[in-house]
């Protein structure tokens, strides 16, 4: 993009942009950045370390990482601060990639193309699956940062004692159900675990469920422009039928809502032999599982599949041209291969670019811990996470339907048809 266009697009900051954009000697640009902590580990310490390292390399810019709670809290605080204005409002944030519509509809986002002024080929360095939730109206509104995808973890000791090959994950839906049956004590008194499988369903059940829906052929749960959902397609209903049957018919998974937060604990305590959860838990599981464990891709059905998840970097419109240039510098620095590789190894998030996986550090890490590559290899089957206008409200409607079916209040088809009708009513006014 040419400089002239950049000035036109950035509107309010045009005056500021007309001033010399090079930072004056001795003046330090401050960039407050809000970030959440969504996985175990010393995230805050790592973030502060990155800010310090970046400042050493770029003395003219100081990034202030400000911890703002969960993803949900971060978006609440960022939008509240941006609406309130003032100097302490964040210039950047790490927020859910699916909150793109939430921010976009509030008019607070600067597209990445406006930051780069033409040089945005580097965006192609990320895995395409991670950019899918960033694109809207022909532009890119966020940069992949702490990204994840669900995987299946299994307890090798439990597999062995149930007579299963401890080094092989279930390959497909039928196999996962059969394995789980042999690993459930009610069906096999010799099982070392009480339950065969746990797919958590508290809080945001849609995410793991989306893995099942994709595998059943429902590639997207919503249209890319965020105005339409596919909650009541036969594929989506079929996926929910399978999930509900795991607990209500096959009885290989606990009935009712399974808590997301305590599921890793259940796994460590041999309450369940297999669990679905985020790859962001990998470091946590590696540290705490008292038995050898395996990490596998989600089992396939009609196809392989998994949703992407996690958070991206956003830049807000309250920035001056100088601050935007500085923000871009930080984004380029923190998503560079070495930095991305380090972030991945320290947290369990998936390094977001193929180049990062070519770094010596990550190669060494993989040689000692091959399980870390499973999530990366699954990326070629990954699809964008559910995201629409009024994202939280539409997602809540969908979550309620999933929970109603999982707790036996409604049949899967009935629950999902109602969710689709509710979502249609909410999204009606965004369809032009």
């Amino acid at each position: 993009m040419h400089r002239r266009n950049f000035l036109k697009l950035s509107g309010a900051s045009a005056v500021a942009a007309a001033l010399p954009t090079v930072a004056r000697a001795g003046k330090v640009i401050d960039l407050p950045i809000y970030y959440p902590v969504a996985v175990g580990g010393p995230i805050a310490k790592i973030m502060d370390g990155y800010a310090a390292a970046f400042h050493r390399a770029n003395p003219g810019i100081r990034v202030h990482p400000i911890y703002t709670g969960s993803y949900q809290d971060t978006t609440v605080k960022a939008l509240t601060a941006l609406h309130g204005g003032g100097a302490s409002a964040p210039k950047l944030a790490v927020a859910l990639s699916v909150d793109i519509f939430t921010y976009y509809d509030q008019g607070v986002l600067v597209p990445i193309e406006d930051l780069t002024q033409g040089d945005h080929a580097w965006l192609n360095g990320f895995y395409p699956a991670f950019l899918a939730n960033s694109r809207l109206k022909g532009k890119t509104w966020s940069v992949p940062f702490q990204r994840s995808t669900p995987v299946l973890y299994w307890n090798k000791t439990a597999f062995k004692s149930a007579g299963l090959d401890p080094d092989r994950a279930p390959a497909n839906w039928d196999e996962m159900r059969d394995y789980a049956r042999r690993l459930t004590r009610a069906h096999n008194p010799k099982s070392a675990t009480e339950w065969g499988l746990q797919i958590p369903s508290s809080g945001f059940p849609y995410w793991l469920f989306q893995g099942l829906a994709i595998e059943n052929g429902q590639t997207h749960l919503a249209a890319a422009d965020g105005t339409r959902t596919y909650f009541d397609s036969p594929e989506t209903i079929g996926a929910l039928d399978y999930m509900v049957d795991l607990s209500r018919k096959a009885r290989v998974m606990p009935a009712g809502i399974i808590n997301w937060g305590t599921t890793p604990q259940d796994f460590f305590k041999s309450r369940c032999a297999m669990m679905w959860t985020t790859t962001g838990n990998l470091t946590n599981v590696r540290k705490h599982a008292p038995f050898p464990f395996g990490v596998g891709m989600l089992p396939k059905h009609k196809r392989r599949g998994a949703p992407t998840g996690g958070g991206n970097l956003y830049v807000f419109t309250n920035t001056t041209a100088e601050e935007r240039a500085a923000a871009l510098r930080f984004i380029r620095w923190v998503t560079a291969p070495e930095q991305t590789a380090d972030w991945g190894m320290q947290t369990g998030y998936i390094a977001t670019s193929p180049a990062a996986w070519e770094t010596p550090a990550l190669k060494r890490y993989l040689a000692g811990f091959p399980a870390a590559a499973v999530a990366r290899d699954q990326l070629k089957y990954a699809e964008p996470e559910l995201s629409t206008h009024e994202n939280q409200r539409v997602t809540q409607v969908f979550n309620n339907a999933l929970q109603a079916a999982l707790t036996g209040q409604k049949g899967p088809a009935e629950a999902l048809k109602k969710a689709q009708a509710d979502a249609d009513a909410i999204l009606q006014r965004y369809r032009v």
Binding site: S201, Q403, L406
Partner: protein, 303 residues
Amino acid sequence: MAVIAPTLPRVRAFRLGDHVVAWALIAPALLFLVVFTLYPAAATLVQSLYSTPLAHRPSHFIGLAHFRQMIADPTFREVLANNLLYAAGSIPLSVALALAMALLVDARIPGRGFARMAYFTPTVLPLIAAANIWLFFYTPGYGLLDQLLNRLGLPGVNWLGEPATALWAVTMVAIWKQAGFFMIFYLAALQQIPPSLREAAAVEGASRWHSFRRVTLPLLGPTTLFVLVNAVIGAFSLVDSLFVLTQGGPDNASNLLLYYIYQTAFQYWDGGYAAALTVVLVAILALAALAQFLFIGRRTHYR
């Protein structure tokens, strides 16, 4: 003012000064009341009559449309019904428990100081911390409750994960949290009852139950009413535990009015509708406060 009035004729010259002093004295309290209570309440009422602004659609006057939306909103009806059940469960139980605990620690029992402290501890804990403790109690499989059930040979229960039990599990936390607080009021009231009354009843040959029912309980009347009103307010405002325990799920089975307001305002970013819901909540709480003034004011002669 009634006390000062008879002296007014003699200090007529200073009346203006009196008014200034009086206003100056109430000004700090009045300021805080206006800034933090009256203005927000009025602003909420006004906001509830306007649509929620969007980036491409500014806010405009829509009258009572939000309130009509509320009547048609099944989630609103569900959270209101849940909140009434929550109130009906938590209020009588926490008040009865508070009275029982107060009677126990008012009596001369060994370790009385320790018992008083133990009963009061839940009140001092932040609700979020308390909810995390209960999250462990309720965890299926190895949580405290399931361990107890297993030891008795009973199957475990997914307390927070089943619609039939989620709301009651949340109610239990509220009872546990509030009872100790109410106990303090009962304890203070019990210690103000002159021992001579109970001694007189004993001399008359009244049994302990009779003495409690005919002497102690009536004298605790004003305290009970005060505690009840506070319990009603608590039932509509103490919802922090939901953030930790259930997030209102499964499928809104444990969702309460204030949590729904939070969801509407800060998850769905629908400020206008959230304001309308807040107006309903404020009306409920104002009714509770009004009841306090009307009834307690009339019954203080017991003291």
